[in-house]
Symmetry: C2
Subunit: 542 residues, 2 copies
C-alpha cells in the first residue's frame, strides 16, 4: 500500500522558486572579473535564470543537452546553475585549471552545445574553440560593451546580449527527479577524465544534508563566502543549500588573494566561508602582519586536503573562528563527512578535541561508509584498523558518464581510492590513497605518515614516499626527498631521524635525493611519474 | 537522460541503521509509566527494533498491515516507530485522549491487527477491546512481571515477552519509498476522523527539513525533550530527525507536570524541548516561585496553538531560552513553518523582533504556501491581506486514507482551513479558522481578534465570536461571553470597550452572555454547537 502524500519531484527549479518567493530581497553579492562589486537579490537571480531558460528554449536546445561553463564564482554563473538545470538541460562546469587540450577533450566528450566563459579565459577559448566540434554557441560572461570587436571566435556574444531580450516569465518544466542536472569531470592522475552525472534528486537531497547543523549549518541568518569554486563539484553544493535557506551569497570572483578575501568578508558581513587550505593560508598571511580581526566570520569549512593543525589553532584561538574539516569527492556530489563534534565531546580537553578535529569527520545521514581489507572484509571501527574506504548513498555515483571505466561499484559500494580509519564514534580519518599505500609483509604503511616525518626535518623541502618491490616483503618504502636550498642532510641522518617517530618496520629502507618531485595540474604529487623515473632503482642489499 | 547516481530508496529503516552505526552509544532516556528512569543507547533501540520486526514476521503480518499504539513518549514506543515501519508495516499512533467510542471506531477503520498500549490505558482497552474486531494481538508495553493475571483481554501479552525471544538480527526489506509508513487520524470537530497516511519518502524528507538550522536545528550536540506526544503526528517528526543526527532523546512518559519536566531537563542536560503552550505554562509555574533556572536548555519550539507573548518574554528574558513558534497540521507531517528570523532582522529592536516572533513563521523549503480570497485568487504577501491558507509539498497529503472525504486538494493545493496573512518576508500569521471568520460586507473579520479584545476585559472569563446572517452585510459578528465568577459587565459596557481597539465596522453588533461555551475533547471551542444553541437568536434592529 502506498502512502497518500503529494507526489512532487525533487527539482532544482523549486530551489530558485522558493528563494524568490520567500527570500526575494535576500542579497547576492559578487566581486566581478571587472573588479567592481555587483549586488542584487534572489528575486533578480530567479528573474534572470528564467531569461537563461528562455534563451536556451530559443536555441532549440533539447532536454538534457549540455551547457558548459568556464567561470569563476559570480552571479552570472549562479543564474546558469538554475536556468540551465531548471529548464531540463545539463550544466557542465569545466575546471579552467586543466590543460587546454584536456578542456577541449572534455567539451567534446560531454558534447557541450553552449559554452559560457569568463573574460579571464578568452585567450584559452581562442586557443581551443576550433577543436570543440559540438559547441554551437560561445557566450562571454560580460556586459555587452565589454566584448572585444574581433576575438576570432565565430558567433561569440555577450551573456547580457544573449539573455537581454528574453522574457523573464517562464514555467519550469516538471520531469523525473532522476533526470540529469549537472556534470563534473574528475581530474584523475591516470587516463582520461571521467564525469559524474548528477541528478535533480541527488542534488536536492545533498542540499538538504549539506544545510544540516552537523554539516555546513546553513540558515537565513548566514552570509556565505564560497571560495571553493563553482567549477569544482558545484562549490560543494553551496549555491543549492543557499537557495534552499535564503542565505546571503558572497562571490569572490577570481580575486582569491588574502587582501581581497578579507575585505569581502568584512564588507559583506560574511559568517561562513568554505574553501581549501591554501586560500586560508593567504588570508591569514594578510591579516597577521596587519593585526586584522574578523567582525562577523564564525566558521570555515575546509576540504580538498587536510588542514594543518597550526591553521586550525590560529583560526580558533587568534580569531575565534571554528574550523571544520570536510571530506568528499566529485563522485559524492561532493560531501561525505564533516568534522563536527558530538554532545559527549564537549567534556574533552582542548587537546583531545583537537585530535578529533584533525580527522575528516563523521558520516552525513544519507551516506554510509565502511573500511575493508584487501579481501574486501569489513574492518572494525576502532580508530586503528586502516582499510580501503567504501561509500554508498543517494548522492554517490553509480557509474560514470557514458559508462567510462565500466561499473566502479563493488557490491553496491563505491571505492573511494582512499585508505582510512574509522573510530568507534564514526570519525573517519584518511591515512593514504589506496594506490600510494605500501603493502609490506601483509601490513600497510601510510605513505603520508612517512612523508610527514621527512617534512618535519629542517632540511627537507618536499618528500614523496613510494613502495619498491621486495622479494620477501612484497614492498618496502623508500622516501624521495627534495632538499631546501642551501640545506644539507645525508641518507643516514634522515633514516636516523625516523627513529622513535614510527614503528621500526615502517622506517623507509632508503632515501633518494631528487631535484624535484613531479606535480600535476592541481598541485598533487604524481607518484606514477616518480615511479617511472626510478624504474632502474634497486633497494640496498638486493 | 537520467543522472548516474545510486538508486537508494528513502526508507525509515535507514535512519535506525545510521543511528546504530554512527551514534551507537548515543543515549535514549525515558521516564517510564512505572515512574523510574530507563537509560539505554541508539544501538539498543536498533537491536530491539529488529526484535519487533522479527516478532511481526512471526505473526505473519503482511506488508502495510497496521500496528497501532496507544502510548506515551518512551523507548518502547520509539522501538515500534522503527520496527513497525522499517519492516514494511504501517505504524498507527492513536490519540488516547479521544473518546473510547472514537478509539474503537478508528482501530476498526484502520483495520489494526496489533495494538500496543501503555498500562495507563489498560482500563480504556478493557472497555473497548471487544469492539475492535480486526485486532488479533493485544500487547501491553510493560515488563513481563507487570502484567496483571486477569485483565479480561484475550491473549494479552507483555511487550517484553513478545519481543524477548526474538532474534536481534534482521535484514530490513527494501521497497518503494512511496510505501505507507505510518498513519495518524485528525480529530475534526465535525464528522468522523480522517487519517493522513504518510510514506517513507515523505517521512525522510520531513526529517531532513525538520533538522535544518532554520527549523528545529537538530544536531549530535543536542539532547531533545519531545513533550509533544508521539501519538500526535509523530511528535513533530523528532524521533526521525534525532535518529538522522544522533541526537540524545529524553522522553517524559506521562509525567508532564512542571516539576517532573524541570527535573528531567536538568538531569539529562536537555538543550531543546518541543511542545504546546500549556506544558510550558506548568513548567514556568513550577520554576518561578522556587527561583529555579535552566542550566542547559537553549530553545523551545512551541506549536499547537499560539504562544502568549508574556511566555515568550519570560523564556527569553528570565531564562535565556529562545522560543520559536511553529505551525503545522496532521496533514503536513506536521511542519509547515517555523518562526526563525533572517539575517536582516538582527538589526531590529527587541519590540520589532517580538512582532515577528508572534507570527507562525516562514515556509520550510519543500513546502510552498499561498493565501487566496473567496474566489481562489492569490492575495499579496503584504502582511495585511488575510485569506484562506493553501499549502503543497512532498510531505503534504494528497488524500485521506480510504479516500474519505474525497479529494481535499484545490488545483494541487491543500486548503488548511486556516485564514492567514503572509508578509513580504514570508512570515505567515494565522488570523482565524476559515469556518470561523466573519464575512461582513465583502471584508473579513477575524473571530480571534474579536475574542482577544473581549478576553482583555477584567470581567470576561471566556469569549467566542460567531457570525450571524445579515440581509445587507451577509454576516455580522456577535460575541458570546462567560463572565468571571462574581464579576459584572453589561452589554453596552463591553461594546464600548471595543472602541479604539479595532475598526468601527468590526465591533460586534451584540453581546450574548452565556453560562458556558461548549468545548471539544482537545479543549477547542465548538462553535458549531454554539451556533445550534443560538438558532433562534436575532440581531438587534432586525
Amino acid at each position: 500500500m502506498l502512502g497518500q502524500m503529494q507526489q512532487q519531484p525533487l527539482l532544482i527549479s523549486s530551489l530558485i522558486d522558493f528563494a524568490e518567493r520567500h527570500h526575494g530581497d535576500g542579497e547576492v553579492v559578487s566581486r566581478r572579473v571587472e573588479g567592481d562589486i555587483h549586488r542584487y537579490t534572489w528575486a533578480d537571480v530567479a528573474r534572470r535564470a528564467r531569461q537563461v531558460a528562455n534563451a536556451l528554449d530559443g536555441m532549440k536546445l533539447g532536454m538534457s543537452d549540455r551547457v558548459a561553463t568556464l567561470a569563476w564564482n559570480g552571479y552570472r554563473h549562479l543564474e546558469l546553475y538554475f536556468g540551465v538545470s531548471g529548464s531540463g538541460r545539463v550544466l557542465h562546469t569545466i575546471n579552467p585549471r586543466l590543460h587546454p587540450e584536456q578542456i577541449a577533450w572534455i567539451a567534446n566528450h560531454a558534447e557541450d552545445q553552449v559554452l559560457c566563459f569568463d573574460m579571464t579565459f578568452l585567450p584559452l577559448i581562442q586557443a581551443v574553440h576550433a577543436k570543440c566540434s559540438t559547441v554551437r554557441q560561445w557566450i562571454a560572461l560580460c556586459d555587452a560593451d565589454r566584448l572585444p570587436a574581433d576575438t576570432g571566435i565565430p558567433g561569440l556574444i555577450s551573456y547580457e546580449a544573449w539573455i537581454g531580450g528574453q522574457k523573464d516569465s517562464y514555467t519550469w518544466p516538471v520531469f523525473d527527479e532522476n533526470s540529469a542536472s549537472s556534470m563534473c569531470y574528475t581530474s584523475g592522475t591516470t587516463g582520461n577524465p571521467k564525469a559524474a552525472l548528477y541528478s535533480h534528486r541527488s542534488t536536492i537531497l545533498h542540499a538538504y544534508a549539506a544545510a544540516m547543523p552537523d554539516v555546513m549549518c546553513v540558515s537565513a541568518r548566514d552570509a556565505i563566502l564560497p571560495v571553493v569554486p563553482m567549477f569544482h563539484v558545484n562549490a560543494w553544493g553551496i549555491p543549492y543549500s543557499a537557495a534552499m535557506t535564503g542565505a546571503k551569497l558572497v562571490f569572490p570572483g577570481p580575486a582569491l588573494d588574502g587582501k581581497s578575501v578579507y575585505e569581502l568578508i568584512e564588507a559583506e558581513g560574511v559568517t561562513f566561508a568554505a574553501g581549501v587550505p591554501t586560500v586560508w593560508q593567504m588570508l591569514l598571511g594578510h591579516m597577521k602582519p596587519a593585526g586584522l580581526k574578523f567582525s562577523t566570520l564564525q566558521r570555515t569549512v575546509i576540504g580538498g586536503s587536510a588542514c594543518p593543525p597550526a591553521m586550525i589553532d590560529a583560526f580558533r584561538e587568534d580569531y575565534g573562528v571554528d574550523v571544520l574539516h570536510a571530506w568528499g569527492m566529485t563522485e559524492l556530489s561532493p560531501l561525505g563527512t564533516l568534522c563536527t563534534l558530538k554532545n559527549k565531546h564537549n567534556k574533552l580537553s582542548a587537546d583531545e578535541q583537537m585530535k578529533l578535529r584533525l580527522k575528516q569527520g563523521r558520516c552525513i545521514y544519507g551516506i554510509d561508509m565502511k573500511i575493508v581489507d584487501s579481501e574486501g572484509k569489513a574492518l572494525p571501527h576502532d580508530g586503528k584498523s586502516a582499510g580501503d574506504l567504501l561509500v554508498k548513498g543517494p548522492w554517490v555515483i553509480a557509474s560514470y558518464f557514458k559508462q567510462e571505466g565500466g561499473s566502479p561499484l563493488v557490491d553496491g559500494w563505491f571505492p573511494t581510492g582512499d585508505v582510512a580509519t574509522i573510530d568507534a564514534d564514526g570519525f573517519m580519518q584518511i591515512t593514504d590513497r589506496s594506490k600510494d599505500v605500501i603493502k609490506s609483509g601483509g601490513e600497510w604503511i601510510s605513505s603520508i605518515d612517512i612523508e610527514n616525518i621527512a617534512m618535519a626535518h629542517p632540511a627537507v623541502a618536499m618528500a614523496a614516499c613510494i613502495g619498491i618491490r621486495h622479494p620477501k616483503w612484497d614492498e618496502r618504502p623508500i622516501v624521495c626527498v627534495v632538499k631546501k636550498p642551501g640545506a644539507e642532510v645525508t641518507r643516514d641522518q634522515l633514516i636516523a631521524f625516523y627513529e622513535g617517530k614510527t614503528a621500526k618496520w615502517q622506517i623507509p629502507d632508503d632515501v633518494v635525493f631528487v631535484d624535484a618531485i613531479p606535480l600535476g595540474a592541481t598541485g598533487k604529487m604524481l607518484k606514477t611519474k616518480l615511479r617511472e623515473q626510478l624504474v632502474d632503482y634497486k633497494l640496498p642489499g638486493l
